[in-house]
Symmetry: C2
Subunit: 283 residues, 2 copies
Amino acid sequence: MIIARTIQELQASLQEFEKEGKDIGFVPTMGFLHEGHMELVKESKIKTDKTVMSIFVNPLQFGPNEDFDRYPRDEEKDIQLARNEGVDLLFLPTVEEMYPNGNLTINMVVTKRTDVLCGKSRPGHFDGVATVVAKLFQLIRPQLAFFGLKDAQQVAVIHALVEDYHFPIEIVPVPTVREHDGLAKSSRNVYLSDQERLEAPYLYKALQKGREAILKGDSISGIRDYLTAYIENHTSGEVDYLEIYSYPDLEMVIEDQQPVIIAVAVKFSQARLIDNIIITQKS
Amino acid sequence: MIIARTIQELQASLQEFEKEGKDIGFVPTMGFLHEGHMELVKESKIKTDKTVMSIFVNPLQFGPNEDFDRYPRDEEKDIQLARNEGVDLLFLPTVEEMYPNGNLTINMVVTKRTDVLCGKSRPGHFDGVATVVAKLFQLIRPQLAFFGLKDAQQVAVIHALVEDYHFPIEIVPVPTVREHDGLAKSSRNVYLSDQERLEAPYLYKALQKGREAILKGDSISGIRDYLTAYIENHTSGEVDYLEIYSYPDLEMVIEDQQPVIIAVAVKFSQARLIDNIIITQKS
């Protein structure tokens, strides 16, 4: 596995791949790798010749009171995991390498449906995501790029980025990887206390109950209230949002419209967890 | 000359050029072509194998009370001029082709020095410029792109776009082309009355007087006031701004700093004209 820490090193390796006529698969991450990330790599290795992973905790997508500084990092272990999984090229830039003048002159700003879900809870978050992904797409120029569906709103933003700015890249959404008890794999799970770790699977239990209720035809607002109460009764967390929208448009659900996303965010003492399921309704 | 009206047609022709290993030069315009645009084409033909011109009056860079609807258009004459000048591929998209959903989901937003010059007078203008140029750069993927220095602030924004988003494109700024009496060539000059057309060369006369004063070492604020009065005394126009900054940073001028731009915008009855000169000071 080649490790590139600068854009120059990255592009030198990419030129070699290009000379050999290799298709590039790209897996952007913020590191502290878990099986969710590994699933993205597995998909990339099936579908492309060379897999490029980036590990970059992007300050632009964290709000001023969010966890940029204490976001978990373990570069040594990440390098080992990426190598074991067969990543071909690992891009590990510093903040200075990605933002040499401190800030960019031109930012990407998401203008649609940023008033719902994580867009509402985290103002500017998806602007930062779109900006860094646009930079990485331009630097790496992959044929395919792989994103986890746990961040379903992010996947919708990336689809819009590719469409609006004509990136010749196919976006491959990959299903959420879960622990045995259903908890979605996340780098932030390490911040749960033992007690909270026992409670956290109730997010996914709630989503499954929601799926049943949607398929049964219960009212959207009734389901939303019921699931919110269900999580608050079974965990010590505070429900940041629990919403049901059309996917990927994130608009109000019209009867029999499909697919539908149930998305939830819950604040525990040291970690905010998100999860979702996307349901294709019977018509 | 090939004419492409859709993205699909454009990309089919570009693929042919690419197969032949041709270097692409790109000249983005809003049409109503004049000798300023032709100078960009001439430069492109010297430096590249194939010249692609776009003609697109981009609604995103016009404010709600600006002249989008009445911006001058003459497609038939433009096609003839582009053909005569040796343009290889002319891209003529509709607004629907560039913005199929009405608006983009993600816009480019310029965050630095938009509070000066045209950025101040035309809020959102450079956001629209950056957005459409990013789209065109991605669609056309030229090696070189040519921009006129009459729009000096635009050239600075395009440089930032290329740097921030890693476009592998060299930006070639081309000096302003002028009428015999010094008036900068502009599509908007057709909106001057006969009397205003006689007055308009005083913009460039003022800029030349400003150059002398800068080189003589006069105070910046003194020069600014003198030139503003000079234009107001010699024309019926209203000075929108007359400013002196460092270039391309557009910051306050520090003594002996170089280069310096003197930039002016004047509102006549039906047209707002801009002009500038960039001065390399003796050190």
